[in-house]
Every structure is written in structure tokens, then in C-alpha cells.
């Protein structure tokens, strides 16, 4: 192929690319939808704690929230709890809330209270007895953590663990902004 032919081809392809970019530009903003994925509104749920207190995720809007799905039998869940508690204590006055969702449909509920005592956990721990919240979050692995900003949008998803204190701090500071 001659140089002139090549240059014509380059220009044609670049013009086609630019035209496609123009044509495919978003003219409307998409409506808010919920999904357990970064950029979406966090799926809502209402669950009870062991002592009957009711927590609805959407009512926590305006706070930065960490949803941590866990179970007592899961070693990485156990390993990351002290770090979560420490970071919760550091940031709770700035509007940070931890909502630890026990996957009670696959856990022994009787083991939850001793677990909370053992780790001296002060953040709310709710029980997903029916498994509805786990289903809404399409739970595949434990632990699974969702960092939600003050507008209720998921900003980070961490599947697996244990999360280190530093990881928690950097992500919490992002969602508190």
C-alpha cells in the first residue's frame, strides 16, 4: 500500500471513530437503579439485631455505611472483625456506620452472641434469617463488604478477606468525603 493510500485510510478510520463517539454520546442521564455493584444504589433491606432493634439501610442515608456480610464459622470474617471495630471507633463521630449482616440462614444463631462478646463489637449486628439480604447482594463468598457513600451509592466492593486496618481506613475516608 502506498503512503498516500495509507494516510487516506488512517484519516477515514479516525473520522469514523470520531463520528461513532459523537453518535454514542449519552444525551440522557440514566435513572437511579439498585444493584450490589460499584456505582449503583445499594439494595435496601430491613433486618433486626439480636435484641430486636430494627435497621433499615435506606434510613441511614446521609451517613457513610460499611455493610459487612459475615458468619461465625468463617475464619477471614473473624480475623477482620477487630480491625472493623477499631476503624468504626475512629470514624463513627464523623458519620460512619458499620452494619454487620450475619448470614444467619447459613450460620448458627446461638453462636452469634458469644462471638460479639468475644470480639467486644459495638457496631450494630443484624441477622439475615431469611437470606433475603444475602440474595439481594448476590452473596457468593464470605466475607463480602460494601462501602456506601452518604448518597447511598456503592463506592467499593471487597469480596473475601480479611481486610486490613489500612484498607478499611483508606476506603472509609473516601466514602466520608
Amino acid at each position: 500500500m502506498q503512503k498516500t493510500q495509507r494516510i487516506i485510510l488512517y484519516v477515514l478510520l479516525l473520522i469514523t471513530g470520531a463520528a461513532w463517539i459523537l453518535l454514542s454520546a449519552e444525551t440522557t442521564t440514566t435513572s437511579e437503579s439498585t444493584a450490589p455493584q460499584v456505582g449503583f444504589l445499594a439494595p435496601d433491606f430491613t433486618l433486626n439485631t439480636m435484641d430486636g432493634q430494627v435497621y433499615t439501610l435506606s434510613k441511614l442515608r446521609g451517613n457513610a455505611v460499611l455493610i459487612n456480610l459475615w458468619a461465625t464459622w468463617c475464619p477471614p470474617c473473624r480475623a477482620e472483625m477487630p480491625a472493623i471495630e477499631k476503624v468504626y471507633q475512629e470514624y463513627k463521630d464523623q458519620g460512619f456506620i458499620v452494619l454487620a449482616v450475619n448470614a444467619a440462614n447459613q450460620d448458627d444463631i446461638a453462636a452469634v452472641t458469644p462471638f460479639l462478646d468475644q470480639y467486644s463489637l459495638t457496631f450494630p449486628v443484624v441477622l439475615d434469617v431469611s437470606g433475603d439480604a444475602s440474595a439481594k447482594y448476590q452473596l457468593q463468598s464470605l466475607p463480602s463488604s460494601y462501602f456506601i457513600d452518604r448518597q447511598g451509592i456503592i463506592r467499593e466492593v471487597i469480596i473475601g478477606g480479611p481486610m486490613s486496618e489500612t484498607l478499611l481506613r483508606t476506603r472509609v475516608e473516601q466514602i466520608l468525603k
Binding site: 479516525l14 471513530g17 454520546a25 489500612t166 483508606t170
Partner: protein, 242 residues
């Protein structure tokens, strides 16, 4: 089938797909290294140091960016959290280390990039598959019959588009007749990849929108396409002159 694949390679297992792609890609690159005048050992060492620099560099850059957080618990520098990582920082360090290694070993830039092209192309296939497994890089909502159910809506299977485009690119480049001009194979890969990125990004549901509703990723791919054309033309001219 898709559900089985997604549950089999659900995060964090989706990383297996990337590691497998890197391994297959390196094997393919090794097979063709001689054709570009690059020794297999040099290619292996270059990739090894590059990957090592990517991993260490990505963590190091992340630490520098979040120094106050690490100062409070310095041992977390060694925490086994892949999320304590800056991918772009890692890439920059990897390129720097690969460049220094190449200089010391006397490797020529264009033949080396040509030799590594099957590695890059296979890695792109692995990236598409890992996106599919993790449900990231997802598409816009659609009512087309081939839409997939993802994140509570039927969506363009952009991860499948991406995987197929990468696979076709790999096949095309693998069977491409060897040319005389060093660098053209790699630049062809860059041109094709940038072109399909411009096309496929239009169907993505997670694009970063800039002024006028344009997708940032498409604009970057367009610039990459223009730059690749310019360098390709320079390679044609230089090679002809020599």
C-alpha cells in the same frame, strides 16, 4: 452456562483467569520470540521482572498515596489485600523496569514489543473473561435477544463483546504473515484494540462521562488510535529509508 462460569470464577477467583491468560500468553510469545530475534530467556526474564515490578510498584505507589494511613499501622505494607494497590502506578513502574532491563540486555524496542504482542493479546482475552466473571465492565440496559441478566437488568454483554474482539485480534495477529518491519505487529495490535474499544465502549453502562456526554474511555482510545497510526507511519518511513 454463563451462570456456571460466573459462579465458578466469582471474585476473587476471577484473578485465576488473568493469571492463566498471562501464562498462556507468555508461552505463545516464547514460541515466536526467535522470529523477532529475541532470546526466550530474555523474554522470560523481561516478563518476570516486569510482573514483579508491577506487583511491588503498585503496592509502593499506593503506600505513597496513602502514607498517613500506613504510618498508623506500618505492618499493613505487607497485608495480603490485593485492593491496597495502584494499577496505573504499578504499570508505570513495570514499564520503567522493563525499559531498564531491555537497555541493559541490549534488547531492541520494536522487535521486543513484537515478540510480546501474543502476550498482550492473550492478556486482553483474560481481562475480558475476568470482567465477565466479576460482572465488572458491564453493559447498558438492552432489550436485544442476546442481552444478559446482570445487576438486576438485561444488559449488553459487553464483556463477551470484549472477549470475542480480543480473541479475534489474537487469532488475526497469530496468523499474520511475518513482515520485514519491526514494530508493525505490535502497532497493528494497538490499532485494532483501540478501534474495537471505541466501538464497544458505546455499549458500556459504567462509562465515565465527560463534557457533552462523551465517554472518557472512547476519547482515550481515539487518541491511542491516532498516536498508533502516526507511529506506524513513522515506522514505515524509517524502515524504508534504512
Amino acid at each position: 452456562m454463563l451462570t456456571l462460569f460466573r459462579s465458578l470464577f466469582a471474585p476473587p477467583r476471577h484473578m485465576i483467569l488473568l493469571v492463566a491468560a498471562a501464562w498462556i500468553g507468555l508461552t505463545l510469545s516464547e514460541k515466536r520470540a526467535d522470529r523477532h530475534g529475541i532470546g526466550k530467556d530474555d523474554l522470560n526474564n523481561l516478563t518476570f521482572y516486569g510482573l514483579l515490578a508491577y506487583i511491588v510498584g503498585g503496592r509502593a505507589v499506593y503506600i505513597l498515596e496513602n502514607l498517613p494511613a500506613f504510618t498508623r499501622k506500618p505492618l499493613d505494607i505487607f497485608a495480603i489485600n490485593p485492593d491496597l494497590f495502584d494499577a496505573f502506578g504499578g504499570l508505570a513502574i513495570a514499564l520503567l523496569v522493563a525499559f531498564i532491563f531491555g537497555q541493559r540486555r541490549g534488547l531492541l524496542l520494536w522487535p521486543t514489543l513484537d515478540a510480546l504482542t501474543p502476550f498482550f493479546a492473550t492478556l486482553a482475552v483474560g481481562l475480558g473473561l475476568s470482567h465477565l466473571a466479576a460482572g465488572t465492565a458491564f453493559g447498558k440496559q438492552t432489550d436485544l435477544p442476546w442481552g444478559i441478566e446482570l445487576w438486576n437488568a438485561p444488559r449488553h454483554p459487553t464483556q463477551i463483546y470484549e472477549t470475542l474482539a480480543s480473541l479475534l485480534t489474537l487469532i488475526l495477529l497469530w496468523f499474520k504473515k511475518p513482515g520485514q518491519r519491526p514494530g508493525i505487529l505490535f502497532l497493528t495490535f494497538a490499532v485494532i484494540t483501540a478501534a474495537w474499544q471505541i466501538f464497544i465502549q458505546a455499549f458500556r453502562g459504567d462509562s465515565t462521562l465527560i463534557a457533552g456526554g462523551f465517554r472518557q474511555e472512547q476519547v482515550i482510545a481515539w487518541v491511542a488510535l491516532a498516536v498508533s497510526f502516526a507511529i506506524m507511519e513513522m515506522r514505515f518511513t524509517v524502515t524504508k529509508a534504512t
